[in-house]
């Protein structure tokens, strides 16, 4: 079976751990318990009839992207860059983290996730503006760890791009 390491990167409290818990255990908690270091989970996805085992490294949130350490990123085949739709600043951090990722892992695929889609009233980020700012290779994906919307699709999309040749 194909096994790939992926990382979740993003600022503090954007919902990285919540997204992984939603995907792996189908649970959601309002309680915030910050991650120190890394929390490693596994999830097997069915993609076009093939099993792909994702080893998910849910990293500690960083507002100072320089602090993100190489030892955590090494060997990653791709990453989910997570931003919080209610805090525009987290998009900038996600983009800086993407550059850090590419310094260490090369040009691996990365998806930009804009999380907390359920809090639309408080939304301050326009995904289309983000796409332009990103200069990205793909559209940002809007997700909600609370409702589960877009979560599985985001992981699948990344896995597909990793298997598709890693561009």
């Amino acid at each position: 079976m194909i096994r790939k390491k992926i990382c979740l990167l993003g600022a503090f409290s954007v919902g990285k751990t919540s997204l992984v818990q939603r995907l792996v255990h189908s649970i959601f908690s309002e309680r915030y318990q910050t991650t120190v270091g890394v929390r490693i989970e596994k999830k097997t996805l069915m993609l076009d009839g093939n099993d792909v085992s994702l080893v998910i490294w849910d990293l500690q949130g960083e507002d100072e992207f320089q602090k993100l350490r190489e030892s955590y990123l090494r060997g990653s085949s791709g990453a989910l860059l997570v931003a919080d739709g209610t805090r525009p600043h987290t998009v900038d951090i996600a983009i800086l983290l993407r550059d850090r990722l590419r310094d260490v892992c090369g040009n691996v695929p990365a998806e930009l996730l804009i999380n907390k889609a359920d809090l639309t009233d408080e939304w301050a980020v326009d995904p289309r503006a983000v796409a332009a700012l990103d200069g990205a290779d793909s559209e940002p994906i809007v997700t909600s760890a609370k409702t589960g919307a877009g979560v599985e699709g985001a992981f699948e999309s990344l896995a597909r791009r990793i298997l598709g040749g890693g561009a």
Binding site: G37, V38, R39, V55, Q60, R69, G75
Partner: protein, 564 residues
């Protein structure tokens, strides 16, 4: 005889013959003789035998038919004839070449004789400079030419009739050489379909290993002279005169030749007249004569040495090529001449001896040869190549056998990675076995990880701050693990669980989580290169117990792409 007279005679003859014929036909018709093919075939073999025993009429009658048959066969498919003649020709040529080599040795003897003169020292120098064999220089300088052998052959049969040999030239196998000459001569002529009487286009001269074979033809015999050097045209004239004399004196014997060569012994003086030679005249200087006694000793020694060298050089070239072919790490493809330089092309292993060194013992001056070798990796040097490239550190044993490379002992991870790449990238290595090799960095890392695993950190009641002593110890151990893990190119994960006594706080779980978080923060802030702080999946950071526990595990198995 005038032509008109001859024709008249033939007409007369024809009349006489036809007259008798007519009478005999009339007689036969009267007898009404009937002969069937069947009857003839019954008696034919016996008849042939009987007639052949009586005289040679039958052979003569059949000869034109057989000759025509052979000719037709040759035109139709020369290969058939070539195949038939080759087994005869091949050994003959080989033996002749051996004879020529023997002659070359004689040339060296001459050279040795000559090595006692000042003149010869100059020639040695010239030979060195020009790269030509000394013997050749001696021949050119000393001997303008010499007719060494003269053979007389019967033209029709190619059999030898007589031979004369110059003094000091070893007698060669006359039968063999003569047969060969005839064969080659006929062969060349037939193969290019030349008209018989075009004497000029027939083979006049061939060269075998530096010796020239001059051929002079008479109607019934051929004279061949083996000549060394550059003969003047007068040699051909002398030979021409000799063959004419042979025909004049032995014309009858030549026509009736039946394999008995005794009548031709008388031709020897004519043959010997062809054994001509011309030496260049040299004058010895009085100075040379004065220093003779001393010089002779010195020169004798030099002469012997040089003589050996020259002898080698004269045969050297083939030997040199053979040596290169046989030398380990060489693949010789061919030799070509380029601007009087010999160019040897092929493949050479970078571990092979220098081509100059290979040639040295063969006597060929490497300065006269240019080498055009591409590099390749030969199997002969596999072991050396592998050893050199691996550059195994002390404590590692390397064994190379049948393309299997086995390493034993202990080595750092960096070297093992290097060895993996070398083994993969070296042609001829079929398998790389390092199952008996200990990764010393990994072993060191493992030892340190095991020492930390299960470590319990105690806290003061109600406190979530680890003591200064615990922090110092934890940092020291983790930095050691980090160093070893970095060398071993592995990543070690550290998991921390927290706990609290139920009487410590009403919310015991909260204090435990706080303690775990404090240690996690501390470890994270150490910013270690190869240690990652891992949370256990599915929560469980708090154990509900009084302590904070360090769980240390090696994570490399989890990683898809290990950090190498």
């Amino acid at each position: 005889m005038p032509r008109a007279a001859a024709e008249r005679e033939i007409d007369e003859l024809r009349r006489l013959l036809l007259q008798g014929e007519r009478e005999r036909i009339a007689a036969l018709e009267e007898r009404k003789l009937e002969v069937s093919s069947r009857d003839v075939s019954d008696v034919l073999p016996e008849a042939v035998l009987m007639r052949a025993a009586d005289d040679e009429q039958l052979s003569r009658a059949l000869a034109p038919t057989i000759e025509a048959g052979i000719e037709t066969s040759a035109r139709k498919n020369p290969q058939v004839l070539a195949d038939a003649i080759f087994p005869v020709l091949g050994p003959a040529i080989r033996k002749a070449i051996q004879a020529a080599l023997a002659a070359a040795v004689e040339g060296v003897n001459t050279a040795l004789e000559n090595s006692l003169s000042i003149q010869s020292l100059k020639w040695r120098w010239e030979a060195r400079r020009s790269g030509r064999p000394f013997s050749e220089i001696v021949l050119v300088k000393n001997l303008v030419y010499r007719v060494e052998h003269v053979f007389l052959f019967h033209r029709e049969t190619g059999l030898p009739l007589a031979q004369a040999v110059a003094p000091a030239v070893a007698t060669q196998d006359a039968d063999l050489v003569a047969t060969m000459f005839t064969a080659i001569s006929n062969w060349v002529r037939d193969s290019i379909h030349l008209v018989e009487d075009e004497e000029d286009s027939e083979l006049q001269q061939i060269t075998i290993s530096g010796a020239r074979v001059m051929i002079v033809r008479g109607p019934h015999a051929v004279l061949a002279g083996v000549v060394r050097g550059n003969p003047p045209t007068s040699v051909r004239l002398v030979m021409q005169r000799a063959i004419e004399a042979v025909h004049l004196e032995r014309g009858e014997d030549l026509v009736r030749f039946d394999g008995d060569d005794t009548p031709f012994r008388a031709t020897l003086p004519h043959l010997e007249s062809c054994l001509q030679e011309q030496r260049r005249q040299r004058k010895r200087s009085p100075v040379f004569l004065a220093v003779m006694p001393v010089a002779i000793v010195v020169l004798a020694l030099l002469g012997v040495w040089w003589g050996v060298q020259a002898h080698r050089r004269s045969q050297a070239w083939d030997a040199a090529l053979e040596a290169l072919r046989a030398a380990p790490g060489y693949q010789v493809f061919g030799v070509r001449e380029e601007d009087s330089e010999r160019v040897v092309s092929g493949l050479r292993d970078s571990f092979a001896a220098a081509p100059e060194d290979v040639l040295l013992p063969t006597g060929v001056d490497p300065d006269t040869v240019r080498f055009d070798f591409d590099t390749y990796e030969s199997r002969e040097f596999l072991e050396r190549r592998v050893r050199e490239r691996l550059a195994a550190p002390e404590g590692v044993g390397v064994d190379v056998e049948d393309g299997v490379v086995t390493v034993t002992g202990a080595a750092p991870t960096a070297w093992i990675d290097h060895a993996d790449r070398i083994a993969l990238g070296t042609a001829g290595v079929g398998r790389f076995d390092r199952s008996e090799l200990v990764d010393s960095d990994f072993a060191r890392m493992q030892g340190r990880v095991e020492a930390l695993d299960g470590r319990v950190i105690l806290f003061a009641a109600g406190s979530a701050a680890p003591t200064v002593g615990d922090r110092a110890e934890l940092e020291g151990r983790l930095r050691d693990i980090d160093e070893a893990a970095s060398s071993a190119r592995r990543i070690v994960s550290v998991t921390i669980r927290g706990g609290a006594r139920s009487d410590e706080s009403p919310d015991g779980e909260g204090l435990g989580a706080e303690r775990a978080a404090a240690v996690q923060r501390f470890v994270y802030d150490l910013r270690l290169e190869s240690v990652v702080l891992q949370w256990l999946s599915g929560g469980g950071e708090s154990t509900g117990r009084f302590e904070t526990r360090l769980d240390v595990r090696i994570l490399s198995s989890v990683m898809e792409a290990p950090a190498r």
